[in-house]
Symmetry: D3
Subunit: 285 residues, 6 copies
């Protein structure tokens, strides 16, 4: 879903046929200024969504909104920093405020949370996300992960191959699973195989997997697996997964892995705290 | 957004033109059994979404899925409990697994998190949610709040009136804001006014507010405000908000408030841990 | 449905793949002036729809339309009054004419018809509408009711509670119906109970109904019911319904009712008569 | 718009996120029987819409509705006649009742109103409708016109040609308008020309119009125009329009016209009166 | 489907979540110039689609595209001719290039292919298309046929009547099929009957068919059929079909037919060859 | 676009508000049998679309269609072969016939045309398609290519990387383009670089391209390029493009290329000839 459609659906959810309170109390001609300020240290994500929200709310009223961001996506900012000013009819500010903040607080929460994982990795291993994302918000959440300094794994089931135990069981062996997949997908797609033992690792390597995913191995096993893989296929990419949090990443960052993947970047993140203040503006002459 | 539309859009996000791996490896005729098991103690929410996901994925393939839930929405269950069995083509299980779990883990996370707030309230005060919800998932998240034992505040801007400082500023006084609103909305809508001082409280009460929201008051102020309000308008409903978490709720639950509202029910909740195991089934004769 | 979507769907209905006659006969560069004139005395409603129609038709051709209204929503105007001038490509005027007039004639018909009910009430009782509206046009028709001087009842099933005989039968008593509803809805929703006898009235009042609807009572019964209700719960709102037309409203307006609701505001209204004249304009240098 | 889409949008309008009252009071497992009865003599139209409404409402709940019609589209029935029985969950009956009746009362109103025009014509002249229809309901309203015994004119701007004064002015003459149109449309489309004088009539006939529309002529003029046209082009179809109601139709039905067109079939029709009674059914063993 | 919707869906198909390569390599601020040049002689069709593609791609990026066409729809141009210049962000040119060319090459292919049929007819008989068109592209393909110099038959099943053998069999005779159709359709629709023998031709003529379609007759039969039809009903329109290609059209063009219809205008056309070159532009001061 | 949506939109195009002729002539209860027969030798593609068309048309009428295919996707069949029988209401057969055949003739045309390329390759080199496809039909056309024995290249801009001259120009060098792309895309995506000279080839190889595309090289150059590439990077995939037709493929198939890509598989294919015969069936007792 592109951002404009997402915002339109979300406004339908929150505004629906209209804001009863604002309609009753606020003269549509009154103009206002909204300021969004950080109430904690955080990493910024979600700015384009804020712009889209106020543009669409203004458009519903045949008006316009001027949104000025003072920070950029991925910026690390301190409590008290001014992120954004919005000048628009006061009614527009009131009707868009909640959705804009909901998106900004949630996405900046992910970017901020991700930063801790990335710092634990000290650039020794690449941190990547997974497909454990909030339904309908994946594109925004994966962008937030990038703003936090990590990288994205495949976006979805259609743009990358990950062969897991059930796929292997369904065809009989890792060898056959890789062969059948190579014959099925176009030639720009790499093939990743999830393994949980050294036997499976050996089979994946000899089957020609482009990437191996070491799932739920201990620190010691991970170290052995990396050496074993590099010995057989130096160019293979090696990823590890399984309850990855900053502590665990710190303990395995020097093992020679290419990547660790962590669903918790997104699903263990909480919203950061932001506030929006509104001021009425004098009428323009 | 109704559940079927949400699931359809979320499948478009994750499946898009199709699952490359499953298409390559899994014979469409193979049947399988999926079992979802709790990996921690939790409160259940999201079961209808699980059913809808597998129904839609099966329908895309002209197949059917049989989903049997062993628990009910709102059940408190222990680690190791079997929640759900799904019998369907193995390909359907593989394609729907991630989305089903993403919804179930997120929503049960909210229900589980909410339970702590409700227990802190010991039925002395009603815990309610706010409009701080994940865009597009509000209906599901508000249901999860109910499964956790709390109640819902208004759903959106269109089904309840909440007069805040900016509305008041726009018309000049609480008195005028209440009057104009009463004249604007239909006669089945109650009017809530947010106040931050005793003066505002008095004005809201004399203006005929049906509900007052005491925002960001200290414990001591809350106690005084409740007595003051009850003295003037015994039937008025009194709600409090501002950084409500279980500890704070425990400390104010005996003050005579009707409700406390807490955005954190939803935005401070993390996903719970669930796993889904897949088994191939023998062919049916 | 928001106005832009309604107009887009209605243009799809009437224009579809295009206007065969205009395409054949009218040079797209020719400009024209359209004037809409009242052919009877009427109350105006539907002006924003006229603007939207010509804006969208013009947009389909990459052109623009300038719409100038000389009257306002709710104005009572005499036969012969000029309502609106539209300057646009002649082809746009021809393609949008029918839809614009269909909406304006229908909605002004409702506003005009409503005015008679409101005048019969002489401000002694408030006239409100019902959910008997044309499917998909409810928002526009309810606005027309306001332009005619009446007020709106709840918009739909989701923004107000009305407990009727079948709801009561389903739970066993008025008392239980009110209790269960109070526990189910959020705290900003009032509860209205429909009653047809004094026993039911008494039960609704003691159950704590916020509003009672006296349905299909005689003038005499209505008078007694109002006194009975005020004696028990002075603050309760009292509404009456059942074949309400201007004559009946005149006969009961002094009984002390708060509201009378009348589906006939909308479903007994006929379109008013309006005409649109088109003139070609000289080319602009 | 096909019927399923119209009903879906109309349910979104009236049910939206759900019926607050039914959700609170009615056990989803309770079954009920609804009966729709005529409260006046009428001509039936709208039965498929009733079926579709209850089917969709039931489907939203994963239930089913059994709809049995005892009358057919176009039947003339007396007050007190049973039109339809619906067996479904009581909640489904309550949620679909209003929309089903709104459509049935409106469409039967048109069929009933049309019948009076058709009877006035005594089969001497064909009564047809116009494009003055309620936006988005045209297909249903045009069907109601047929159920009332009249016929349909073109559906929309895209399936028939009607050359009016502004088209003629835009190209310079009736002759050129007909020529250009003939060259533009495919060869299965007939061309109708609206005329208001004998000169225009002569020009339309010699230009080869397939149909002429005599607009706003007096009874005497109509008689002369028919003879004049038949003398020149015996096979030409002749239609008359302009404030056609049953009285006027009765006075001109013997003039030899082929058709009279009347917008009033639809826009002067009021809803007929119908009621729906609901009964709870005992549980099925 | 209107052009904007078609282009939006086609961009969803080709761009989906975004162009991986352009996103990685091209600075969004870089501007570029694209030039589309003919690599063979051809007849032009598809220019508005090119404009729409770049407008929408630019709009997705909040940018604009300036599209300047140097040729017009229907122009016959030589190899090497410059058709179009597009100035836009280089990223927009890269993302829209393929879709724009796909449409332009396909539609110009049809216009070019059609031209050969029209030339073979030497204006002695009108060449028309059929309903054998690419699903979803019918409006564009029928426009391309006009640009190639031919004319359109009916657009679809809803805007013209064509009675074929199965319709006739279903009612029993040509006579009854024409009668029932005349009673069913509105009076601006002509009736065409497909015949394959002289008996059927006679029956269609006496039943009052407005148009007869002589299907799969030999050249000799066609000549006899035309004379037979003209003798009975001079004003009837006569169309022939059945494997019409330029050679066959040349051999029957003098037989007195009004029209020949040929599906091959569209389904035997191949894409023409066009190329688009891109240049980076210096930054604007 | 999934098949059901494509068919729904295509039916809206061809059926729109309904088939005038069938509605007038065919009793909805009449049942019929349709048989689709090859009128030339061909390779089959498009069978699921046929099934979907008749299912949807039947569903619009509350009826069902039984579609039985006697051939499979990719089968090479002789003129005269029966492909498919459809049993359904005769009206359904008439309304769905054109769309079903349009899809089947077009897609089988591509499969048949592709077969010639594949045979010319004699399994010495893999034939793949391009993004030169009919807008909105890409998924179906790419399936037809597979049925013809060739393979698919990337589906769209979002599921594979192809670095071309303009991307290279935008960043300054092949080296930088590959580096920036590697940093931007997830790790399951391979990178292909288009080259037109040996210098570019060398640069692409040393930059680490996973695949190189040799564009518009002569047979001699291709041979040299393959040896040069294999010498430097034995594992690199090598693709060639530029006016690839069966003759050219035959002449270069032994050069050691991995793949040749040819837009002509799709854009130079013409529809094959198929016919559908309809028979009325006796009523079922």
């Amino acid at each position: 879903m592109q951002l404009p459609e997402l915002v339109a659906l979300a406004l339908a959810e929150d505004l629906g046929p209209g804001d009863l309170t604002t309609k009753a109390c606020v003269d549509p001609k009154l103009r206002g200024l909204g300021t969004i300020v950080a109430k904690q240290d955080l990493v910024v994500s979600g700015l384009p969504a804020v712009r889209e929200v106020f543009a669409q709310v203004a458009d519903r009223r045949g008006a316009s909104a001027s949104v000025k961001h003072h920070v950029a996506q991925g910026d690390r900012i301190l409590r008290g920093t001014l992120l954004t000013e919005i000048e628009a009819p006061l009614a527009v500010l009131l009707e868009g405020e909640r959705l804009a903040l909901n998106l900004l607080m949630k996405l900046s929460g992910i970017a901020t949370h991700t930063r801790a994982y990335v710092e634990a990795a000290r650039a020794k291993v690449t941190v990547v996300d997974t497909r454990k994302t909030t339904p309908l918000l994946r594109a925004l959440e994966k962008a937030a992960v990038r703003h936090g300094g990590a990288k994205n794994h495949r976006f979805a089931l259609y743009d990358g191959v990950m062969i897991k135990d059930n796929h292997i069981a369904a065809v009989g062996s890792i060898q056959r699973a890789v062969e059948r997949t190579r014959a099925s997908v176009h030639h720009l797609v790499k093939i990743e195989v999830e393994v949980t033992s050294f036997d499976e690792l050996d089979e994946a390597l000899s089957a020609g997997a482009d990437v191996v995913l070491l799932d739920n191995m201990s620190e010691e096993q991970l170290g052995l697996a990396v050496r074993r893989a590099r010995a057989q296929r130096p160019e293979v990419l090696i990823e590890a997964s399984g309850n990855m949090d900053p502590d665990r990443i710190a303990s395995i960052r020097d093992l020679g892995l290419d990547m660790v993947s962590a669903g918790g970047l997104i699903h263990q993140a909480r919203w950061v705290d932001l506030s929006m203040k509104l001021l009425a503006l004098p009428e323009r002459a």
